[in-house]
């Protein structure tokens, strides 16, 4: 059971090592309550997130994908998240076009100190995905 009250869904999160992963850690250390649907994959930088990672996840079983990196101007590698921003915006619009609700995909910026914000992002995004329900039909979900 997910904390949102229905069956747990599969949400994949790509988090940059330097900010958002730290932010998630801060939230954990602070014992902020979060829904448990999210599976985190740590990446060096949001610029490492190939838009195709998101596509692959959504096509092979994920119900939602969240990407989070350092705030613009704060990238550990100076400019990785600037590239990410362009790519992910392009992807967001493409997913909608091919018939995947744009609400299933979200990208945002969370710094290592923003534990509270992280809690908010995860909770709100999980809620949003739960409102849409599973992306894949039930038969596939069973296994």
């Amino acid at each position: 059971m997910s904390d949102v009250g229905t069956k747990e869904l599969r949400i994949v999160g790509f988090l940059c090592n330097w900010c958002s992963y730290g932010g998630a850690d801060t939230a954990g250390v602070g014992r902020f309550k979060q829904p448990t649907d999210l599976r985190i994959i740590r990446v060096p930088c949001s610029g490492r997130v190939d838009p195709l990672f998101v596509v692959r996840a959504l096509l092979t079983g994920a119900d939602g994908v969240l990407v989070s990196g350092c705030h613009p101007r704060d990238c550990h590698y100076s400019e990785g998240n600037y590239y990410a921003r362009r790519r992910l915006e392009m992807l967001r619009r493409l997913l909608q076009f091919m018939g995947i609700d744009e609400k299933r995909f979200h990208y945002t910026w969370v710094s290592a100190s923003e534990g509270q914000k992280w809690q908010q992002v995860v909770t709100d995004f999980t809620k949003q995905v739960h409102e849409l329900g599973p992306l894949h039909d039930k038969k596939e979900k069973a296994d």
């Binding site: 400019e79 590239y83 392009m90």
Partner: protein, 316 residues
């Protein structure tokens, strides 16, 4: 523009290059085939008419010797994009430009004559006259042109060394280019999802779309086929087919020059160019960028602005 004028230019260029890439008659009267000319005798067989559909510029990155290539307006965008990305040595390429008023979609012509074998083809005044065993049929070229010609903005090549004919201006409104995309977006989310699933389910993974695409420069190292990384399996499921077409589309983000080759070559008639055109419409909207127009430009995914004027942070 006459074939004679074109032959004259080919003969003039031929001594300085290894090959001139043009067109010649194919296995039947409706099919024209790419033609690698090496000698003046070859040049005699060159043709130019509305059936010369192939984008010949796509051969350039794989050729090492100095080559001349014949391009229509749309094909020239391929060369501009190659120049932007440093994929060709411009000094090694001689461009013979042809102002073009529109080509013919062979698929549409065949459909119009019920797929009867074509015995003869004649052109007269913006019309194409098709002879089959069932008789003659006259079609307006405007009615059987590929969709790209209906909104063509660049009838005259953007770059060329020789121009075979007088430059022509586009008569099509610039706003019309992405109208089909806007129209498609009026469908519901489910309709769009079903549409793409049904279309891509026809895919046989022959990779003709990829191999014909001038901007698919990875070719033999395409991640659709590598085992490591293992992006997609060899399975034939809807997901794998969809994934392949997403790879193609996303790798062309901000680079697709809309030559329509992917769609033209598909033996299963899948509208493979649609996803790419959608991305292009977004590139125009977000970054006011049109691929393959200015050699000095940088593809939008290769660069950034610290403040993006049109990208707003999304709220949950």
């Amino acid at each position: 523009m006459s074939t004679e004028k074109l032959k004259e230019i080919i003969l003039k260029v031929l001594p300085d290059v290894d090959t001139v890439i043009g067109w010649q008659e194919g296995f039947d009267k409706i099919h024209i085939t790419p033609f690698f000319m090496k000698s003046p005798e070859d040049a005699e067989k060159a043709v130019w008419n509305s059936l010369c559909v192939q984008n010949l510029a796509a051969y350039l990155p794989s050729l090492k010797k100095k080559t001349a290539v014949i391009v229509k307006g749309c094909d020239s965008r391929t060369i501009v994009q190659y120049m932007q990305e440093g994929l060709i040595d411009r000094s090694n390429v001689v461009i013979i430009g042809i102002p073009c008023t529109g080509v013919v979609s062979v698929k549409k012509v065949l459909k119009a004559v019920d797929y009867q074998p074509i015995e003869d083809v004649k052109f007269s005044d913006e019309k194409i006259i098709i002879k089959t065993s069932k008789g003659e049929k006259t079609l307006a070229i405007a009615d059987v042109c590929p969709d790209k010609c209906k909104t063509c903005q660049y009838p005259t090549p953007i770059v060329y060394d020789h121009l075979a004919g007088d430059p022509i201006e586009s008569t099509k409104p610039a706003e019309s280019v992405y109208e089909d995309i806007k129209e498609f977006e009026k469908k519901s989310l489910e309709e769009r999802r079903d549409y793409f699933k049904n279309e891509f389910d026809k895919c046989i993974r022959c990779y003709a779309c990829r191999n014909a695409c001038p901007m698919c420069v990875c070719q033999d190292s395409c991640i659709a086929e590598t085992r490591d990384p293992h992006w997609i399996t060899q399975k034939l499921s809807s997901e794998e087919k969809m994934m392949f077409h997403m790879i193609h589309a996303v790798h062309l983000a901000g680079r697709c020059v809309e030559c329509g080759e992917c769609e033209r070559v598909c033996p299963m008639d899948i509208p493979v160019a649609k996803l790419k055109k959608k991305i292009n419409s977004e590139m125009k909207e977000l970054f006011d960028y049109v691929p393959g127009v200015n050699p000095e430009d940088k593809p939008p995914m290769y660069t950034f602005n610290v403040e993006e004027a049109k990208i707003k942070e999304h709220k949950l």
